[in-house]
């Protein structure tokens, strides 16, 4: 019964979305407001029906209705109920349904939020959203239907892949897909603006929030995936330049450029064509990534075998590229900049350079990812690039972007950019030089990457602190506030500026974590008999014992491995090897002792003599925690930037106040002059 409901709701959702697109186009072409209203309601109908369909799948999963092949393939009766629900996105068709549902949510939200804006672009944006929704409906109905029935009745399902029975896997796909789905809204707004030939840059304003929100979701989704790989896969890393990972990074890179260059377009009317390309490109990269990873054209650690949804995505991608390119070429006169760029050594110039570099990193990553296809076409031998391709090409470019991030906020917009920069850079640069000297002379650091990173991180943090302190001092001098009040009011008075600074701080933390763990990580094999001690990487490991435990749907062999630091602090690490009832091969479970300084990462590799001796792989990874913390700080910064001012702040306007990133008056700017 519920299966039929799910299936009919899916068919209905596709039809309703298609009808919505047609109604919106009719409303746009013939100027019929009633048709546009109808289109909006129909889009809401898509959300309602796709929600009903999702509810039907959740119902089947929770009640272990193995009539549905999807339920039988990805769950079992003994699976904890949380994982039964998470199995919703464990397979191809379910994860596409999740994407479609999230698409329904963001589309309806955008349609409702923008309904009061009586502009001509609205119906076209609505039509674009509805068309994308209809595509996903058709995709599921014809190529990846999650409600396909089992061929023969089964007593119990096959169980959820052990690698996916991890908390990171519950959160990673929904957040990532929410990011992908949210990039549809800026794309729809762009199509609307281009179709109606909007001359001003007003339409960019609401788009910025969407881009920022989608960028945050995508970034958090990527980090959750990295964290899952780190805690579950057992090789001690969080990023392997696998095609699937790269596919999610591509739109993140272009969107990172976009959140900066949209600000400039709004303020100065430049970068119009560039932004149009980036908005379309980011959305299409989301689709391209999905095509790449699900069609079987690229070999990946994730098993992909040829399936027909690849063709669907390829056709959709082709249509999207042609439509965007055609519109951008058609409207090229409207996309010309309102004024020329002053100079490369200015804030806008830095934005331009960062944008170009981010786009280049995207292109290089894409070339590496599709290198097997390129090489198959150009030579007779298929080739793959190894991870050191990315480390050679992407790492230096990324470092330049991070350096720009450190210096960029110190640049001013005017003609005195160079002189301003020199003055503002003095203190942070001195701090960076001092830190490098200490590291190289006193601590004997020899790896170039770590030294460069140290310099950039100190520069970034120094510059942020310096600006903050100057701002607070200026407020205190002008308004007789105490330091804490001045700080709160300063920050609250300009969310975008300080949200961005916070995000930059988070990126610096993240970069420190990535470089620290890549350069200083150590890997050791360790064989111990019961009660034996061994010293590895300055840590003493003692094997207490091995024992067997039984859980809901697996039994496990667990080692009790005590680690003692030089300062006498101890921790008990419990790496496991799990034997899931439904899977014949064992799954190892990493034990982690994580501090801000370093992670001790232990896997149980094997044992002999009935558990009297065991082998472990011990990885000491410095600074990994900073990656996750940095991600958190970036996210908080992004959220802060989107929040409205919390308290009413008495404005302090010293003479010659500057402009912030968004072109808002910057209360503290005067003091720096």
């Amino acid at each position: 019964m519920m299966i039929d409901v799910g299936n009919f709701a899916l068919a209905g959702a596709m039809l309703v979305a298609a009808a919505s697109a047609l109604a919106a186009v009719h409303g746009a072409v013939n100027g019929v407001p009633a048709a546009v209203r109808l289109a909006r309601w129909l889009l809401g109908g898509f959300l309602a029906l796709i929600s009903l369909s999702s509810a039907a799948l959740i119902d089947a999963l929770v009640h272990s209705n193995f009539q549905v092949a999807y339920v039988a393939n990805y769950t079992e009766r003994a699976l904890p109920v949380g994982y039964k629900i998470a199995a919703f996105w464990a397979g191809q068709s379910g994860s596409l349904l999740l994407w479609a549902w999230l698409l329904g949510v963001v589309s309806t939200l955008a349609a409702v939020l923008w309904r009061r804006r009586q502009d001509a672009a609205y119906p076209w944006a609505l039509a674009t959203l509805a068309a994308v929704c209809a595509f996903f409906g058709a995709l599921m109905l014809f190529a990846a239907n999650p409600f396909v029935l089992s061929v023969r009745p089964v007593a119990d399902g096959q169980g959820l892949n052990p690698l996916l029975q991890n908390s990171g896997m519950i959160a990673h796909p929904p957040v990532l897909f929410a990011g992908y789905a949210a990039f549809t809204v800026p794309f729809a707004a762009l199509i609307g603006a281009l179709m109606t030939g909007q001359k001003d840059d007003e339409w960019v304003q609401p788009v910025r929030r969407w881009v920022l929100a989608a960028w945050l979701l995508l970034g958090v989704g990527i980090l959750l995936g990295a964290n899952w790989a780190y805690t579950e896969l057992g090789w001690g890393g969080y990023w392997a330049w696998d095609p699937v990972e790269n596919a999610s990074l591509l739109p993140w890179l272009t969107a990172t450029g976009l959140i900066h260059s949209l600000v400039v377009q709004r303020r100065s009317g430049i970068f119009r064509g560039w932004n149009a390309g980036l908005i379309a490109g980011t959305f299409l990269l989301c689709i391209f990534g999905t095509y790449l990873t699900r069609s079987g054209v690229i070999q990946s650690v994730h098993a992909f075998e040829a399936s027909s949804i690849g063709t669907f995505f390829l056709v959709f991608l082709g249509c999207g590229v042609l439509l965007s390119l055609g519109l951008i070429i058609w409207r090229r006169n409207l996309l010309k900049p309102a004024q020329p760029l002053d100079s490369l050594l200015s804030r806008d110039g830095a934005f331009l350079i960062a944008n170009v570099l981010l786009t280049l990193i995207m292109v290089v990553t894409m070339v590496g990812t599709i290198f097997p296809i390129i090489s198959r076409v150009m030579t007779s031998h298929p080739m793959e690039v190894k991870t050191n391709f990315y480390n050679t090409v992407v790492a230096p470019l990324a470092m330049v972007v991070v350096a720009l991030m450190a210096v960029g906020p110190l640049l001013s917009g005017g003609r005195h950019a160079a002189a301003d920069l020199r003055r503002r850079l003095m203190l942070p640069a001195a701090a960076a030089v001092a830190a490098v000297l200490v590291a190289v002379v006193a601590m004997a650091w020899r790896e170039a990457w770590s030294v460069v990173t140290l310099a950039i991180v100190v520069l970034t943090v120094g510059a942020i602190l310096q600006e903050l302190i100057r701002g607070v001092r200026a407020r205190m001098a002008d308004s007789q506030e105490n330091a804490a009040t001045a700080l709160l009011r300063l920050v609250d008075g300009n969310h975008r500026r300080y949200g961005a600074q916070m995000a930059h701080l988070g990126i610096a933390m993240l970069v420190a974590g990535v470089v620290g763990s890549s350069v200083f990580g150590q890997k050791h094999d360790l064989a111990l008999t019961r009660g034996q001690e061994a010293e590895v990487a300055g840590l003493t490991f003692t094997l207490r014992d091995l024992n067997q435990t039984r859980h809901e749907n697996y039994s496990a062999v667990e080692a009790n491995l005590m680690v003692t630091q030089k300062d006498g602090r101890t921790a008990m690490l419990k790496p496991q090897v799990r034997y899931y009832d439904k899977f014949e091969q064992p799954a190892s479970e990493v034990a982690l002792d994580s501090t801000l300084r370093r992670d001790i990462y232990v896997t149980l590799a094997g044992w002999k003599d009935e558990g009297h001796s065991a082998t472990f792989q011990v990885i000491v990874n410095p600074l990994v925690a900073w990656i996750w913390l940095g991600g958190l700080v970036v996210t908080l910064g992004g959220i802060f930037a989107m929040l409205p001012t919390l308290a009413v702040v008495p404005a302090v306007q010293p003479g010659g106040a500057g402009l912030d990133l968004a072109g808002n008056p910057q209360p503290s700017g005067g003091a720096a002059r």
Partner: protein, 135 residues
């Protein structure tokens, strides 16, 4: 301003081209099926990535879990492989794997990197069928 932009663009293009050239020249490997690898002796001395299925016969896993010996099966030929490292969770007979390494003098493929291709959330029907064949 325009000329400055062009110069900056050229410098950037040159740098990136060099980086890509440097990256590709030291960062690529042949990706081959077992049969194609064995067909041409010229691959013998090079590091390559080999793709094939794990044979059930002759599979020996060291109890300590840090080595695995097995035959990698192509469509018609097979090659003995010794893998040194932590054996991935999804490694088992019949599983498709990619190993990176080179052949030693005895003809054994020595590898230190292995990717298993069985585990995924994007499994298609074909994979489900294979899972379904378990006893």
């Amino acid at each position: 301003m325009k000329s400055k932009l062009i110069i900056a663009g050229l410098i950037l293009a040159a740098t990136v081209s060099y980086l890509v050239y440097a990256g590709v020249s030291q960062g690529w490997v042949y990706y081959l099926e077992v049969d194609a690898y064995l067909a041409k002796p010229e691959y013998r001395g090079q590091t390559v990535r080999l793709c094939g299925r794990v044979g059930a016969q002759g599979l020996v896993r060291d109890a300590a879990g840090l080595t695995a010996r097995f035959n990698l099966l192509g469509k018609t030929h097979e090659i003995p492989v010794v893998y040194h490292g932590v054996v991935p969770d999804m490694f088992k007979p019949g599983c498709e794997v990619v190993v990176e390494g080179k052949q030693d003098k005895a003809g054994v493929f020595q590898s230190t990197m292995m990717l298993t291709k069985c585990a995924s959330k994007y499994e298609t029907e074909d994979h489900a069928k294979r899972l379904g064949q378990r006893p």
